[in-house]
């Protein structure tokens, strides 16, 4: 069956308004749900032929506010186009006999299609002549179709956690639905959902607006709601908030902490947002800014303010769901709540510091890290060993500020804040609180910042620990987590990564690469393994597991190098194949490969290397292990003698550049091999009958490959169009 060509066109189109009125939807979900609702309706409307597909995007709009999701559309057909339906039946030869009379086959086909036999027609197809039944299907009125589509669309919106409110037989949604508006061309679409009849009346602001507002359609939707204290469009709400913030900060000579996340949140928490300024007692400014800001932002959703000198000011901005606060009642309330919150924080700050940060260490024995991996006290012991080891490595490799004792101390203190009241109350301040206490209690700056920063970096674009000791503790923490969790099989799968090991691995890679730290990753992994053997839980980490961790880290490195630095996978693989244990060095080689891969000689040379690798694979048995001496007297073709000579000369030259770390120059030198290689393959046959000559030639090539693959294995480089894109790579995982 195939719908064929549209015939009679009905010209009339109309505007459409759809609003799902709801009890307060969680702020973080509204924008996504609106976008999804738009996609769902677009899909259904085009499937039902009520809109023309190419124009769909321009005609449908969706947006939301705390108590509503709305869709506005124009150009919706009021009636589906009539269409001709054609159903192919039996071949003509079966349907009609020799005399041209219809057979039983034709009659039963016609009957099935509901048309008289006389209306059957014949079409010619590549397979021969067939009987077809043509029918004109009269388009349905759009309201009828919408009445079917809309309830389904409501059900199709996906939510992180939906609920029942009408009992187990009732619908599920994010919060109870309380009204529905569905108007096409000014007329209600007749359907019911959740016991509600869709209609033409919306609801204004909960306290300030009318609760039963008649609508004509999309045109009066926005203005009528505005009159009733609802700004239905998020852009209008955030604009109002931003303008009022500017006004209040401007006339008070203050700066606001820019915070796009918070702005977005308050945009979706209020239907009619206004900004008010409140004060707090300047005495609270003796508490660290981090704590004050966390209380204001995280708990109360206030914007913090700064003086023009960049000092935190004793004021805040709150966004309220009212046009104004003429009596200052709301302001007084917010100030009171903030005062109580700050008083709590002050209480924790003082109570916690009745003892030294280090005195909390024994209590970590009661905090489990992972049931098979012991407590945080055990983890701290392992972190101390690793931090010392890291600092020693760096010191021995010429980084004079690497501080072994300081790294040990910082690791010892790093997790102590987990058992303080402050972190219990504000878990998002872990690390930071410990750092603040360490500083307040006279630990050296370097150590205090190391504790403060040791959870960093928190993501691909987030900052690193600010000092080397912080890098040591952060690496120690993350390497321990990785090796320990892999050792007990707590390995991330799909979306499940409870110990945030992917982030830990990315952190390790990011610190090493961005601080350009000299470090053997495999040695670091084996040091972490040793720490797990020496300290609780005293487990053996097998070679296989260590290799798994290494591969996991390298995979994150590949991810970071493609995402952040724009390298191609084959460039990374080529350089990594020549060694990736020293990541910083490996990345320099990746850069060199990228820089040179498209030069005149290099591409063809890389292709030749691939050929060499193939030859070597085919003649794997020819070579004795370790026997790689070319016998000069057996080189009797001029082309092979030239290649041998060129390789010697260029090899020495390249080695010198490589030793000096000038990988790009070394590669440029190597690419000068191309003429000799080309000529060799032109003139010389490798697989000759004479075993000795053949072996000698294979040896020559093997030497060549070995000697010139220490920067990168060129045979891994694909041609441009064969390069695997990161997307494909990811999709394939």
């Amino acid at each position: 069956m195939s719908p064929r060509g549209k015939s009679i066109a009905s010209k009339l189109t109309g505007d459409f308004l759809f609003e799902i009125g709801c009890e307060e939807i969680p702020a973080g979900m509204i924008a996504k749900a609106a976008a999804e609702l738009k996609a769902i309706l677009t899909k259904h409307l085009s499937a039902a032929d009520l809109v023309d597909e190419p124009t769909v995007d321009g005609t449908i709009e969706a947006f939301g506010a705390p108590r509503r999701l709305a869709v506005i559309a124009s150009g919706i057909r009021l009636r589906q186009l009539d269409s001709t339906r054609e159903v192919t039946g039996p071949p003509k030869s079966v349907a009609f006999d020799n005399l041209g009379e219809p057979t039983r086959a034709a009659m039963s086909f016609a009957e099935k299609q509901g048309i008289p036999v006389s209306k059957l027609s014949i079409v010619t197809t590549p397979k021969g002549e067939y009987v077809v039944a043509k029918q004109i299907v009269i388009g349905k009125p759009a309201v009828e179709i919408l009445a079917e589509i809309l309830p389904r669309a409501i059900e199709e919106i996906s939510w992180p956690r939906s609920m029942y409110w009408l009992g187990a037989q009732g619908p599920r949604f994010i919060r109870p639905i309380r009204w529905i508006v569905a108007l096409l061309d000014g007329k209600s679409v007749p359907f019911s959902f959740a016991g509600l009849r869709a209609g033409s009346h919306t609801v204004g602001h909960r306290f300030l607006g009318k609760q039963n507002i008649p609508l004509d359609g999309p045109r009066d939707y926005e203005p009528k709601l505005k009159k009733n204290f609802v700004l239905c469009r998020p852009a209008a709400r955030s604009k109002k908030i931003e303008e009022e913030i500017r006004r209040l900060t401007g006339c008070n000579k203050l700066n606001v902490h820019d915070d796009a996340g918070l702005l977005n949140l308050v945009t979706y928490l209020n239907e009619y947002p206004s900004v008010i300024m409140g004060d707090f007692d300047p005495a609270f400014l003796s508490l660290p800014d981090e704590i004050l800001i966390t209380v204001m932002r995280g708990h109360q959703k206030y914007f913090g303010l700064e003086t023009r000198d960049g000092e935190l000011a004793p004021h805040f901005l709150a966004v309220i769901n009212l046009p104004s606060d003429p009596k200052g009642l709301v302001r007084a309330g917010h100030e009171r709540v903030l005062r109580a919150r700050f008083a709590d924080a002050q209480f924790f700050w003082e109570t916690d510091q009745k003892r030294k940060l280090g005195d909390y260490l024994p209590r970590l024995a009661a905090v489990t890290y992972e049931s098979r991996l012991g407590s945080y006290a055990d983890k701290v012991e392992r972190m101390r060993y690793l931090s010392r080891w890291l600092a020693e490595q760096w010191f021995s490799r010429g980084i004079s500020q690497a501080d072994v004792a300081g790294s040990d101390r910082a690791a010892e203190l790093a997790k102590c804040d987990l058992v303080t009241e402050m972190v219990h109350e504000f878990p998002e301040l872990q690390g930071i609180v410990g750092g603040l206490y360490a500083r307040a209690q006279g630990e050296p700056e370097e150590i205090a910042w190391a504790v403060y920063d040791h959870y960093k970096p928190l993501g691909l674009d987030e900052p690193l620990p600010r000092n080397l000791t912080g890098c040591a503790v952060s690496l120690a923490d993350k390497l321990d987590s990785l090796v320990a969790c892999f050792a007990v099989g707590a390995i991330p799968t799909g979306s499940s990564d409870p110990f945030a090991l992917r982030r830990a691995a990315l952190g390790v890679v990011k610190i090493i690469l961005e601080r350009k730290l000299p470090l053997s990753i495999s040695m670091a992994i084996s040091a972490a393994s040793k720490a797990l053997k020496m300290n609780a839980p005293k487990i053996d980490v097998t070679e296989a597991v260590q290799k798994q961790v290494l591969e996991f880290l390298l995979e994150r490195a590949r991810f970071m190098l493609t995402e952040k630095r724009g390298f191609a996978y084959d460039e990374i693989n080529a350089a990594f194949a020549a060694g990736a244990d020293d990541l910083v060095d490996a990345v320099e080689r990746v850069s060199a490969v990228k820089a040179i891969r498209n030069t005149k000689n290099f591409g063809p040379l890389a292709a030749s290397f691939k050929r060499i690798r193939n030859i070597l694979e085919k003649s794997a048995g020819t070579l004795d292990k370790g026997q790689l001496n070319v016998q000069h007297e057996l080189l009797w073709e001029p082309a092979e003698r030239e290649l041998y000579a060129a390789a010697q000369k260029i090899g020495e030259e390249a080695a010198r550049r490589k030793k000096a770390g000038k990988y790009r120059e070394a590669l440029e030198v190597i690419s000068e091999l191309r003429p000799a290689v080309d000529q060799f393959f032109d003139k010389v046959l490798v697989m000759v009958e004479d075993q000795a000559v053949r072996k000698n030639r294979v040896t020559l090539l093997a030497n060549l490959l070995k000697e010139f693959s220490t920067i990168a294995d060129f045979s891994q480089l694909g041609s441009e169009e064969l390069q695997e894109s990161p997307q494909q790579k990811r999709a394939g995982k």
Binding site: V330, H334, R339
Partner: protein, 327 residues
């Protein structure tokens, strides 16, 4: 304490001068809300006479929301949170605070409006204050109970938990009940414009401090400093064993006088366990792993009680009155 120093020199914030009226006393607030809800067909119940951590643990909520019978109830419930005790020194934190609990079963369509009207009744002008519903899905892991809803904020202060109950004792609920839990102490402090809950006027002549301070001081001291971990743990185990003994005795075949089977006693023992667990937790006597395990033990009891309760109410030892389809 430093916070009090701050408050006394805090002349910029005379809340009363800003137009908040003198406000209801604590007992007037309680009476007004109880009266409001009884006029909306709630029966007025009494607080449960066993230590509980929240009004939800009262059988009038935990058990009444199970099954199909409609029910509406209001009651005050002093709720003990040993870990929140501060010896009466913190202006906002209490060992024992007072919740006002309302259950509306089934959830009426106008539950939010009914709730907001109750705020108007206690003197909050909704057009002059910022009242809002912010996502907060409530959960009581020891009871296997959870719901979907909000915390209600009044000018940034959390005053009520508003929940559409989805499960209690691990049982899917049908119909759905609305649970409203008002934090009476902080609402009273707000209405009276005081920063310290102990300064709240309980009646015209008596302060919250006079009524409650000794309790805060002594029960905080007991939870943090005196409680004997070994004997508390033993009590937990005794209560748990007794609850299990009852639950294990549930008849295997058709039994007479099923209505006399003491599930309510098993539930009370479960509540005892829950409180003793909280006490051990406050005392710092539970490790993190053990913590999860103990919560699991209490929940197991609560779930068994809820399951059998449904069977008992349906009059059969076997056929549970299944509530809805499995989700």
């Amino acid at each position: 304490m430093k916070t009090q120093v701050l408050r006394s020199k805090d002349k910029k914030f005379p809340a009363r001068a800003r137009g908040v009226s003198k406000g209801l006393t604590f007992q007037e607030l309680l009476l007004k809300l109880e009266e409001y809800w009884t006029r909306r067909d709630c029966i007025l119940q009494q607080p449960y006479d066993i230590e509980v951590g929240a009004g939800t643990m009262h059988p009038e909520t935990f058990l009444r929301v199970l099954g199909r019978e409609p029910y509406r109830v209001v009651y005050a419930q002093p709720s003990r949170r040993p870990a929140d005790g501060r010896y009466g020194e913190n202006p906002n934190r209490l060992y024992k605070h007072t919740q006002l609990q309302v259950i509306l079963k089934p959830a009426p369509d106008n539950a939010q409006s009914l709730y907001l009207e109750s705020l108007a009744t206690i003197g909050i002008n909704l057009k002059e204050h910022d009242v809002r519903f912010e996502e907060d899905n409530w959960e009581a892991p020891t009871l296997g109970a959870w719901g979907i809803g909000w915390q209600v904020l009044l000018d940034g202060l959390e005053i009520t938990q508003f929940t559409y109950f989805q499960q209690s004792g691990g049982q899917n609920l049908d119909p759905i009940s609305v649970e409203l839990t008002y934090g009476l102490d902080r609402i009273a402090a707000y209405l009276q414009g005081v920063d310290n809950v102990f300064d709240v006027r309980w009646s015209d002549t008596t302060s919250y401090r006079q009524v409650r301070l000794a309790e805060e001081q002594q029960l905080s001291a007991y939870s943090f400093d005196f409680a004997d971990a070994v004997s508390t743990r033993k009590q937990f185990e005794l209560n748990e064993a007794e609850a299990k003994r009852i639950l294990d005795a549930w008849p295997k075949s058709e039994a007479k006088m099923l209505e006399r089977f003491p599930l309510l006693a098993a539930y009370e023992l479960t509540l005892k366990c829950s409180h003793l667990f909280n006490l051990l937790d406050a005392r710092g006597a539970i490790s993190v792993t053990e913590r999860a395990a103990m919560i699991g033990r209490v929940r197991k009891l609560a779930v068994r009680v809820a399951e059998l309760w449904l069977r008992q109410r349906s009059g059969s030892h076997l056929a549970p009155e299944l509530v809805g389809s499995p989700r």
